[in-house]
């Protein structure tokens, strides 16, 4: 019997499970193969929606569904917190003491935010990387009547690299619509020497920032907050005063991966082969999505395009056949929407060998993002797109 164990019920874990269930249907039915997803909460959350809670167009309850309902009926679901991975015995121990053995292990364990890593973050800064925090930011924006808004990034890597810039554009549009733009300043702090990491996107975004009167501060990686003087300081040695501070919090991989000796501290990102997605050269252990140390966007889209590769490799191993080269190598594909405000957006699509060539922002790609967000539950986790 072959035991496939998937840790994590986000985009990557759920999609991999459902794709494997299709490929291994016969063996799952006979019991020759078992396929199990372990998820901490048993609730699947559509995280890209958090930003829209902060922008006032989304509710937290619309962003969650029971994981069981998204999984193929041939997939077992175990709800529990992972405590450690025992590689020598090919087993995973849960916090409640249960042990789960594996022959193939998939680590789709995501990333976690650690705002507490920056002193005064919790009392001074807002963010939109959880439903609760996004709602608090919404309340702060509702109470805002004018002053300096500073938007920055307080750690690397972080989920969805375009999100802070999108939020800057969307807040600017909101302030204008509310008639308080004249009494407000907007400052966007970019970690690098331009507005956005992709040069073509940066060239597109910079005139929009200028047109909207959003001041761009380059090479500003947020390091510390001084609550007394109400200033945020960069690791490059500069500082900016704020009235309302919006920061992307630091992110890390899961602690149990570090405790199990699979991911190095302090980041906790799994050393992952950029093509095979194997962890540290292990033939039966794969990582995908945010959990990896690959130089790719930490975004659901990355996991979405990695899941078929992990599926093909595990299915080939279980069925004792060769890997189909058309599906067994990950070539770095990522695709995501980018909002520029005022009902316009664009599309970023790239892989290791092909840089993105985003179309001029228009309503079509904004609507594309809206439709994608609404139809997500019926498409991505079930492998329909």
């Amino acid at each position: 019997m072959q035991r496939i164990l998937i840790l994590g019920g986000g985009v990557g874990g759920t999609l991999t499970a459902n794709l494997l269930a299709k490929q291994l249907r016969r063996d799952l039915k006979t019991g020759e193969v078992t396929l199990t997803v372990v998820d901490t909460t048993g609730v699947h959350t559509y995280q890209p929606g958090f930003m829209y809670i902060a922008m006032g167009g989304e509710r937290a309850e619309h962003l969650q569904r029971p994981e069981r309902g998204l999984l193929n009926h041939l997939v077992n679901l175990v709800v529990g917190e992972v405590d450690r991975i025992d590689e020598a015995n090919q087993a995973v121990q849960l916090a409640d003491g249960r042990w789960l053995g594996y022959d193939q292990l998939v680590l789709a364990t995501g990333s976690r935010i650690v705002p507490e890593a920056i002193e005064h973050f919790d009392t001074e800064a807002h963010h939109f990387y959880s439903a609760e925090a996004a709602l608090q930011l919404r309340h702060a924006l509702d109470a805002f009547t004018g002053g300096r808004i500073v938007i920055g990034i307080a750690g690397m890597p972080y989920k969805c690299p375009p999100a802070p810039l999108e939020v800057a554009f969307l807040i600017e549009a909101e302030l204008r619509q509310r008639g308080i733009r004249d009494g407000s300043e907007l400052h966007f702090c970019s970690p690098i020497g331009r507005a956005f990491t992709i040069e073509s996107v940066s060239e597109m975004a910079t005139p929009i920032l200028e047109q909207k009167g959003i001041e761009l501060h380059t090479f500003f990686n947020v390091e510390t907050i001084d609550p007394t003087r109400k200033v945020v300081q960069s690791l490059e040695g500069e500082e900016l005063p704020y009235d309302l501070l919006i920061l992307v919090p630091p992110h890390k991989g899961q602690q149990f991966l570090m405790d199990s000796g699979l991911a190095p501290a302090p980041g906790g990102w799994l050393p992952t082969d950029r093509t095979t997605l194997q962890v540290g050269g292990r033939p039966n252990m794969y990582a995908l999505g945010d959990a990896t140390d690959l130089p790719l966007s930490k975004a659901g889209s990355t996991a979405h395009f990695e899941a078929p590769v992990v599926t093909e490799r595990i299915a080939a191993s279980v069925l004792g056949r060769d890997i189909d080269e058309r599906h067994g190598d990950y070539m770095g594909k990522v695709m995501c929407f980018f909002e520029v405000g005022d009902g316009k957006g664009t599309l970023l699509q790239f892989d290791y060998a092909h840089p993105p060539r985003p179309p001029r922002p228009n309503q079509f790609w904004h609507l594309g993002k809206v439709v994608f967000n609404k139809t997500y539950w019926h498409t991505v986790p079930k492998g329909r797109v």
Binding site: G155, M156, P157, T197, N221, E236, R274, P295, V334, P355
Partner: protein, 83 residues
Amino acid sequence: MTDATASDTPTRIIDARGSFCPGPLMELIRGIRESTPGTVMSVYSSDSGSRTDIPKWIAKAGHHLVAVVPRDGFDEIIVEKTH
């Protein structure tokens, strides 16, 4: 471009080839944040813009650019975290 010495041997490699988002500089900033002063790291970048982007940030952040070495199809940019 500067020359590397034996004491500048990288102890960490950041393979950012083919990284468009977040990109090689962002990967280096992550490496700097996660390392202790004195760490020497190599960034592999296939983005020609890194030859200017990375040295500019290194100068601004006060770290040490050890060398920029052209390799087969990519650049190796060696950086020492100084503080």
